[in-house]
Amino acid sequence: MNIIITGLISGSLLALLAIGFSLIFGVARIVNIAHTAFYMVAAYCIYYLSIGLGLNAILSMLIAVAGVTIIGLLAYKLVIDPIREHEAAVLIATIALAMFFQEVVLQLFTGDYRSVDFLIQGFFTIGGNKIFYQQLLTFGVVLVILLVVWFLLMKTRLGLAIRSTAEDREVANLMGMNESRLAMITMGISVALAGITGAVIGPLMVLTPHMWMEPLIIMMAVVVLGGLGSIKGSFIAAYILGFTEALVVFLVPTGAFLKGPVALTTMILVLLIRPEGLFGVAFEEER
């Protein structure tokens, strides 16, 4: 039972992060290492607003998500956009950005462990296992957000533009899509997703300025496993890896050390059989 709950929660966290990451990669070909740093910043914003300033929890979440989105867009405009043509430079720019956020948070809030209050208190028990209402709420919110993202991508004109740009940037540009504006919008959506992740998962996690490192690796594994740019693939792969981690932690001795390695080994084994990921489309030989 514990395995199912932990698996569902970490799977949801990974799914939200991975979808944001693969959106911006698909549209703008940016490998955004700073993606999980935005999630960390959002969690800290909520901590500051709700505990530091004593605002209402839901209000502070909304402000935090909006704030993080603005920070993300500013960072994109100032740092990433001017060097878009140089892929390697973008890569280390995002690494440096993530380090910068980590240091700023470290300065403002120190390295102590923090935590955010649950939105709703209380728990019920099934078969001797505690299930907090907060966990159910988190899972529900994640499902709703995933549905919203799916609707946005599949049913709206903006979604169509995003998907076609992800498929072939040049042709989309020729068909009259403003590629740079689209990249900007996608960056906004992607950072907002990271912010929402921070908002809904925050209460279940311990906040430290280094909390972006661990999900970053597994998130990348999820994205690769599901196939780059495939939303459905990211979703399924996130739950596969989430449950793998949960199984290892609960069933294997010294599992806490091995959860990352086992999840990553799973990814590598799958990649050996299908080099383009579970649902990825094999890229044409790019020239």
Binding site: F25, V31, I33, V79, P82, I83, E85, H86, A88, A89, L91, I92, A93, I95, A96, L97, M99, F100, Q102, E103, V104, Q107, M213, L216, I217, M220, A221, V223, V224, L228, T254, F257, L258, G260, P261, V262, L264, T265, M267, I268, L271, L272, P275, E276, G277, F283, E285, E286, R287
Partner: protein, 346 residues
């Protein structure tokens, strides 16, 4: 005496004709003289320590460049080679009691094997898939090392390694000269026919395949060569620190290598070396404000990249030198005509 004079004159004309004509070569020459002559000016142990670490990491950054800069196979897990080199020479030194002279090269050989093991499956992957998959390997190894504390010391690492020598000067010259020699070897490799094929694989792999070259074999060669040099630097690091710890395998280690190499300018070998020699001492200077250290570092990298996205060293090089449009030979930027074919420089 006459013979000596003859060779001296030959050496002088070689230096004047080949080195002093280009500012970039003059700078490299001055750098080598400066780093070898540093002990004449000061004997500060702290300064020596910084230069030794910088040299070790310069080898590492250059080896990343040999693989990722030249063949374009982005390796995000370069800490794997470094860590494998460090840990295997540590195990050989403490458990088998092989002196450092033997354990560092053997550790590098183990790193080559690691390069083969991850290279063979990874070469089926392309671009970002490759980058993100290689990121996974050091973390897997780190998990195994921490889960097996009996052989590897777990989270504390393996300590009590022998040093090469205990003298200050000996250590300094050992590391600096190793760095200079290995970087020269790497530069020579990239300057040879093999290096040209590496370049071509990055630019257009399909065209290289179409020319009848087995690209997989060359990519594997790049993986093993890079693993060898990174393994040596890992072994040197472990023996100088006298400890091989989990920090050698961390994600931040892999990222730092990438930052150094791309900051200096990828696909040049001298770029990453210069990048380390700029950024590592900068990080040391920033120790005066310890709480803002990493922030200064990241802001510095961001600002430099914003203005020089190709990397710092290629930017400087383009400022002081011009390439001849006809014969592709570089001349000082102040010249009006090419120094070889006298074509007009624009």
């Amino acid at each position: 005496m006459g013979l000596l004079g003859f060779y001296l004159r030959k050496f002088y004309s070689l230096v004047r004709g080949e080195v002093l004509v280009l500012p970039s070569r003059t700078i490299v020459g001055l750098f080598i003289i400066a780093i070898l002559g540093l002990p004449l000016i000061t004997r500060d142990p702290y300064l020596f320590r910084v230069v030794i670490f910088t040299s070790i990491f310069a080898i590492l950054a250059a080896s990343w460049d040999l693989l990722s800069g030249f063949t374009g196979q982005l390796n995000f897990g370069h800490a794997l080679f470094f860590g494998v080199g460090a840990y295997s020479s540590a195990i050989l030194n403490t458990h088998v009691h092989i002196p450092p002279w033997g354990s560092v090269p053997l550790g590098a050989v183990v790193a080559v094997l690691a390069g083969l093991i991850i290279g063979i499956p990874c070469l089926r992957l392309k671009h970002t898939y490759l980058a993100l998959t290689t990121l996974a390997f050091p973390i897997i190894l780190l998990g195994i090392i921490i889960a097996l504390p009996d052989y590897t010391g777990g989270e504390l690492g393996m300590s009590g390694l022998q040093r090469f020598t205990n003298s200050l000067m000996g250590n300094y010259y050992l590391h600096v000269i190793t760095m200079l020699v290995l970087c020269f070897v790497m530069w020579k490799i990239t300057d040879s026919n093999t290096g040209i094929i590496f370049h071509a694989i990055r630019e257009d792999e399909l065209a290289v395949k179409a020319s009848g070259i087995n690209t997989t074999r060359y990519k594997l060669l790049a993986f093993t060569l890079s693993g060898f040099f990174a393994g040596i630097s890992g072994g040197l690091y472990a023996h100088y620190m006298r400890i091989a710890g989990p920090s050698t395998l961390e994600v931040s280690m892999s990222f730092t290598v990438v930052i150094w190499a791309i900051f200096g300018g990828a696909a040049t070998i001298y770029g990453p070396v210069a990048g380390v020699f700029i950024l590592y001492p900068l990080l040391e200077i920033a120790r005066f404000w310890p709480e803002y250290r990493m922030m200064i570092f990241s802001v510095f990298v961001l600002v430099i990249l914003l203005y020089m996205p190709e990397g710092f060293i290629p930017w400087v090089r383009d400022k002081i030198e011009k390439e001849c449009p006809r014969c592709k030979i570089r001349s000082v930027a102040a010249r009006k005509t090419c120094r070889v074919c006298t074509a007009q420089l624009d």
